[in-house]
Amino acid sequence: MSEPIRLTPPLSEADVASLKAGDKVLVSGTIYTGRDAAHKRIVETLAEGGTPPFPLEGAMIFYVGPSPPPPGRVIGAAGPTTSYRMDSYAPVLMEQGLRAMIGKGKRNDEVKQAMAKYKAVYLAAIGGAGALMARCIKEAEVIAYPELGPEAVRRLVVEDMPLFVVNDVHGGDLYQQGRQAYARR
């Protein structure tokens, strides 16, 4: 297996254009969390001409609702949630400059087309590895919608967060490619 590619957000168009489905990446730097309820609010805010809770240009969003931090920790378990529930919101965010989404599970065709159009990628974290992922998170701060609890938007500072490129800007899809490579009759 090839060496992982290091990414530090905010990401440029060139940063994501060079990524291919199947690449392993390590992310370090500032990323933001958001899942169902936060997406709904961000999209509503944008529709009303408001300012989103974090700059979307070049941003990387992590679909996660962490468990509460035990004493002395910055965060609890923090693995990815299933991404398709954010499909109806994702293209709006990409249009505003969102460059990468971190989650797990399939995206619909509309999201894949938006990734190609707006130059964004979809990265998978290992679902169900929440304790492991928490070790990569060095800082966590709620920056919007605290009333949403686990669904609040957080700013995270991460170090060497291990991810796989699932959908690239060229139409590559690791879920399809991986399945085809190992399917047997």
Binding site: M1, D36, A37, V64, G65, P66, S67, P68, P69, P70, R73, G76, A77, A78, G79, T81, T82, Y84, K104, G105, K106, A124, I126, G127, G128, A129, G130, A131, L132, A134, R135, G149, P150, P162, F164, L174, Y175, Q177, G178, R179, Q180, A181, Y182, A183, R184, R185
Partner: protein, 282 residues
């Protein structure tokens, strides 16, 4: 004549609280063994890496008393109450909810229960989902199954026509697993109930998830299907985390129940690779 044994609701609440913590933090031993074996057999390098990370995750969770997964699930409780038991000291349902409340709070588990429309969180992961049976004996057996949304959302109930037969049943099981793909956190565990009624099939499918992964069904007809369907699912190619490989499924459980002459219900309950469950006897 057998005597009646008294069990205090406070003991039930304490047990539920403890089991919630253990179930969310400690990977069951049979699951650890199944993942370890799968890692040895998995031809995909990425697949092996994912399985290795899952074992590492389980070690970190146990060591740091951190949940295995941030989705600590809705608290599903199966409780078998012996008919020679007298439960005293309060309301059994409230005691179970009390246990869930404490278990989720004390162990820093995520509370995921919310109103279906407003999506406002109930704040304490209650109400628990409780399945009670009255059984012979003077014991109370409790299972806690924290069930995450990712795998539960990929589950299905079908009311098939008897004419489709076994082939038709197999088709809907395979389609459910294939369409779920990477979403329910493979390698999955697939709990299937065939027969019964609409609600009985769904509960029976969930109940199969209480079994050990290395167990064989006591029903020979079901045992054959469990083996065959597992083999066929593992030919789909999804692999660990859906990134490609042979290990898409660790175990298929099948329960076959009599049904109406007009009906052929099938329930497929998808479970993620952590297969969280813990039990205790009082």
């Amino acid at each position: 004549m057998s005597s009646v044994r008294t069990v205090e609701v406070s003991a039930i609440a304490d047990t539920v609280a403890r089991l919630c913590g253990e179930a969310d933090i400690i990977l069951p031993e049979d699951v650890r063994q199944a993942i370890t074996q799968a890692k040895a057999d998995e031809p995909s390098p990425v697949g092996r890496e994912v399985l290795e990370r899952l074992l590492e995750n389980a070690d970190i969770a146990a060591e740091e008393k951190m949940p295995i997964c941030q989705d600590c699930g809705l608290a599903i409780i199966f409780i078998d109450v012996g008919q020679d038991v007298h439960i005293t000291g309060g309301d059994l349902t409230e005691a179970i909810n009390q246990g869930v409340r404490r278990g989720y709070e004390e162990n820093y588990l995520r509370k995921s229960s919310c109103h279906p429309f407003s999506r406002v969180n109930t704040g304490d992961n209650t109400p628990a989902i409780i399945h009670t049976r009255i059984v012979p004996g003077d014991k109370v057996q409790i299972w806690v199954v924290p069930k995450g949304g990712g795998a539960e959302n990929m589950s299905k109930v079908f009311l098939l026509t008897p004419a489709v037969g076994l082939a038709g049943v197999k088709k809907v099981v395979m389609d459910t697993v294939k369409n779920a793909g990477p979403n329910p956190c493979p390698p999955v565990i697939v709990g299937v109930a065939v027969g019964g009624t609409f609600e009985q099939a769904a509960v029976a499918a969930k109940r199969t998830l209480l079994r050990k992964l290395d167990s064989v069904s006591s029903d020979p007809e079901a045992a054959v299907l469990e083996e065959e369907w597992l083999e066929d699912i593992n030919k789909l190619g999804m692999g660990p985390a859906g990134l490609g490989g042979h290990t898409s499924c660790l175990k298929v459980f099948v329960d076959i129940i009599p049904c109406h002459i007009a009906s052929l219900p099938v329930a497929v309950n998808m479970q993620c690779h952590a297969a969280r469950h813990k039990e205790a006897v009082l």
